[in-house]
């Protein structure tokens, strides 16, 4: 099953549960509190997911390591390499 199908399956399960509860499609005579909780749920979930995404990406951007030492180490090694390679007879 492709990831696209997995997503469509997941969304249709959520949406049909939502439809059942909100419109009482099976005529279960559910207490009204179910309907009240259920009907704004898709929007609520979207907002929660959006906030989660923004927070995660923001946190990861802020904590993305800046590898200054790695760059300095490399620069030093480049100098060393050039010297050594010239000694070995390489013409750059």
């Amino acid at each position: 099953m492709t990831k696209l199908l997995e997503w469509l399956l997941g969304i249709s399960v959520v949406m049909s549960t939502w439809g059942l509860l909100t419109f009482d499609l099976l005529d279960l005579k559910l207490p009204p509190v179910y309907k009240e909780v259920a009907w704004p749920m898709p929007v609520y979930l979207l907002v929660v997911f959006g906030c989660y995404s923004l927070a995660t990406v923001g946190y990861r951007v802020a904590t993305f390591n800046d590898c200054n030492e790695a760059s300095q180490e490399l620069q030093a090694q480049i100098k060393e390499a050039k010297k050594d390679l010239q000694k070995k007879g390489l013409k750059f």
Binding site: T2, K3, S53, R60, V61, C67, L74, Q75, A81, F92
Partner: protein
């Protein structure tokens, strides 16, 4: 006791028979090639693993091949192997071309522009041996991994794209677009044949297909030092083609 010793002996001889072929596809890397080769020789020499470096030059006009020949004279034709091609062709075919000539049972792919540091290779090898992994991928996104030379915009795009990919594809690896990896040779051969994308998406497709085919993936945090010489670009075109590639993988894997 005797059994133990015998056992150790066989496992040691198996370990020492491992050979690592480093594939370096180059195009106009005259400045960088000697430096990356020097670093590879240094770190392989220190760690004692058997290796070879296969330079696949796509007829660079700056004379990369000529420098590679000089390096071959310095380090020996058993260590530096030149397999040039007639013209600039894709990365996937460069890997196929390299595998054909590789005598190692493991293949390491990395960029020749010094953004990937050979000091991590012994860690890749250790990781692979610990878990018997089919492939080990370097990751900029976890542990001590990171980048040098990226501004806020670049970081934001990178993290955002990575998050979106993680949500849509759940690939089980944290760095999908990185190209510093160690593969079992036959695994790389299988994967390259299955992959059709280009550019950033190619590396992503490799790892997504690896997961799909049930190969095991290990990860090693790496530092990515953005091109010391030359420029790297990340413009609108790259972003659009990345999104297209992502959606293609989303619909087909």
């Amino acid at each position: 006791m005797q059994y133990n010793m015998a056992n150790r002996k066989t496992s040691k001889s198996r370990v020492s028979s491992d050979k690592y072929s480093v594939l370096l596809p180059t195009y106009n890397e005259r400045e960088n090639l000697p430096l990356i080769v020097w670093l590879l020789v240094k770190y392989f020499g220190e760690s004692g693993y058997d290796y070879e470096i296969i330079v696949i030059d796509d007829r660079s006009p700056d004379g990369t091949l000529e420098v590679a020949e000089q390096l071959q004279n310095i380090y020996g034709a058993d260590k530096i192997i030149l397999r040039p091609r007639e013209k600039k062709l894709g990365l996937g075919t460069a890997y196929i071309h390299g595998i054909k000539h590789a005598t190692g049972n493991f293949v390491i792919i990395m960029d020749a522009d010094l953004s990937h540091h050979p000091k991590f290779i012994p860690e890749f090898i250790q990781k692979q041996r610990e878990g018997g992994f089919d492939l080990v991928s370097g990751t900029r996104y976890s542990g001590d991994g990171g980048v040098y030379g990226w501004d806020l915009r670049r970081k934001l795009i990178s993290r955002g794209a990575n998050f979106l990919t993680q949500v849509l594809l759940r690939p089980g690896a944290s760095d999908l677009t990185g190209s510093f990896r160690l593969y079992k040779k036959e695994v790389l051969g299988q994967l390259v044949k299955k992959c059709v994308s280009k550019g950033y998406v190619f590396q992503m497709e490799m790892i997504v297909r690896a997961r799909q085919l049930g190969y095991s993936i290990g990860e090693v945090p790496i530092t990515f030092v953005d091109r010391v010489y030359g420029e790297s670009k990340l413009g609108g075109n790259e972003i659009v083609s990345f999104l297209k590639g992502l959606l293609t993988l989303f619909a087909t894997t």
